[in-house]
Amino acid sequence: MPTTKDILFTCSYLPEEIVTAAGFRPVRVVSSARPSEADTALHPATCPYIRAVYAAAARRDGAAAAGIVIVNSCDGMRRLADALAALPDGPPAVFLDVPHKKDEPAVDLFADGLGRFAGQLEHELGGAPVTPEALELAIGRHNVRRRKIAEVFGLLSDGALSGSAVFGLLRNAAQDTLGAADGRIDALIASARPGGTAGGKRIVVSANVLDRPDLVEMIESAGGSVVALDSCTGARHYEGLVTEGAADPMRAVAERYLTRPPCGRMEGIGDRIDWLVALAKTTRADGVILTTVKYCDAWLYDLPQVTEGLTAAGVGVLSLENDYEWSGAGQIKTRTEAFLETPGKGGR
């Protein structure tokens, strides 16, 4: 359960270093509330994760947290920020705007915005001042985690760790303290068995919000291996380090977040395709399973061209839609199994 030292967040574009430097623990919201519980507040044709986050806040799941940060991930998240601000008993909500581009002016703007965000953590949510020294320390700690996770991803790709184990780690890491997460990561690395899970179709799972292990388990139970987990709490979240020892650490943070592998909310469908093709190639994947929560425009618009790009690169693709709760698991399992049974590289 969140405590007063926790800042809840819903998007991987939240710079965790700043939250850590302010003396808080960043805790990713994984909601057990049903999206439909939010339908009286947010339109039902809104992302189910967004509605589940609202529903959780409405029933005071995160009431003890110091606050919740909503990033301008998409139009829906912007509306969530409004809805949370109107909730009488919810945790204090802070809205963080993120540019849609990654060029120098965007980095400058974002760095400026992050400075003000740090001020909000201090003055509105009771955090410590985010000094350059505190920020540099936080950058170092989060980079340590990123390096460890990179090692985990390498072991996953080599078949030394199962997708289920890595998924569980990533989900816990999104909510653990840095120390506890580091401990779990080290334990998982120590448990790796080279060649242990090799065999079957090698599959990259690429998703936006993926808070349940259903798909990973389906792939493994059908005899496949998950060789990469590219999601909001997976590879995209951990790829790329913040430059340490920079003259302006806030700007270094801004640069890292804007230039790392993009989610669909950023400009650049081509960049997403390149990232996925490269990921498929470096992990020697036979196929990519793309899964999106319903109503996620950032993903749905791109899907045909992303699919085309992967197919042109010789990578089989399966697209699956989920409702965050994975209530259609039976049908999804059938389609996943069929994909894995396709001869050669998993095809459309």
């Binding site: 009286t40 339109h43 409004d82 705007d97 703007l109 400026d112 469908i269 081509g270 425009d297």
Partner: protein, 414 residues
Amino acid sequence: MLKMMLSEMKRQATEALSVKADARALWFAEWAKLFLAAYDADRPVVYTSFYAFPMEILHSCDVAPFDFELGASMLLTLPVGADLMGQAEALGYSPDICSFHRASVASFYRDYFPKPELLITTSFYCGGKSRTSEILSRLYGKPGRLLSVPQEITTESIRYVSGQLRQIAKTVAELTGKSFDEERLKEAVTSSNRARASHLALLDLLGHRPAPWGGNQLVNYSIFSRMFDGSPVLADLHEAFIDKLKARIEGGTLRQERHRVFWYAWAPTYKNAVFETLTRHGVSVPVCETFLVHWDEIDEQHPFEGLAIRCLKDPFIGGVDRRTALLDKTIDQFGIDGAILFATPACRHSKGNWEIMRQAARKRGIPLLVLDMDIADPRAYGEEQIRTRLEGFIEMLDGRTDVKPVCGGDHEND
């Protein structure tokens, strides 16, 4: 097909104007002329969002602007709409994304649109359109430019947006082989400021009881007229409508009116019973959120900064309070006793906060109807269901004893 439609529109409007001066015919004639210019190969075609991107910049260059979404919306008034949806879905575009954008992509494959040299889009109003612009940019193999507009107005955000506008202006001018002429932009801004004054005068007239204009035509005009921002045409159009409405008011034959409703968001493109039902029951829509003037006069000496501020002040950026404040401001001026939020399913930014909007209206004693209906996909349209919802809402308005109906004549005032 779109070109044929526009040509016919131009022909009919020109013919009507040859008989007598008429604001609506003038509007249609200018609209057709602007769109058709994009089909003539004599100038580079630049795609953009007419109602979001500062058109003053394009009107300062010798290019032919085109808005694929508005072009698609015109096609969607025809029976081809359902086919376009089906084609987009067959290509892998989810039925959960905006029907305008599905139609836009399908229109590319049918070669309905003129070929662009550059595609400019905006991060606001909306995210789906900016993504569609990028998709089309990749399909056409032509460069795209995104105007990314932050959610808050600060010194830094003004600098950021104006910097992007300068870069985009330079890129547009380069298409014509010339440098960008800032003096032409200042003239365009002067035109816009003149049009703004006329716009405010037009809004004043819409406050008359009974309303001399409104409904579907007003909603369409509010969006389609933005294509003339920066052109002298816009003030001329507003003035033409001012003359028309004054004549209607002075004529004393305006339609009987029992209720006056504020309209949020857009209107469906296909044949439907919405405004006919409202009209039949004496419900006027004298004002819509997209016709309100959310910006101050633009600084003519610093046009890029001035245009950046207008973008940053857009009600579809920032919190929902910007939109609820619009209703608040208009209730007294326009005698509003109800509100309708047109909730097309894929428009997350517009309809997401329906409950907050309903509560804000309720605080002012105004009932708000959330009308769930797709903007352009006719396949799910159920006429009787929509009539029933509207009639139920109207009964609710009728049941309010604190509202006095306004009477008038029987003139057709849309």
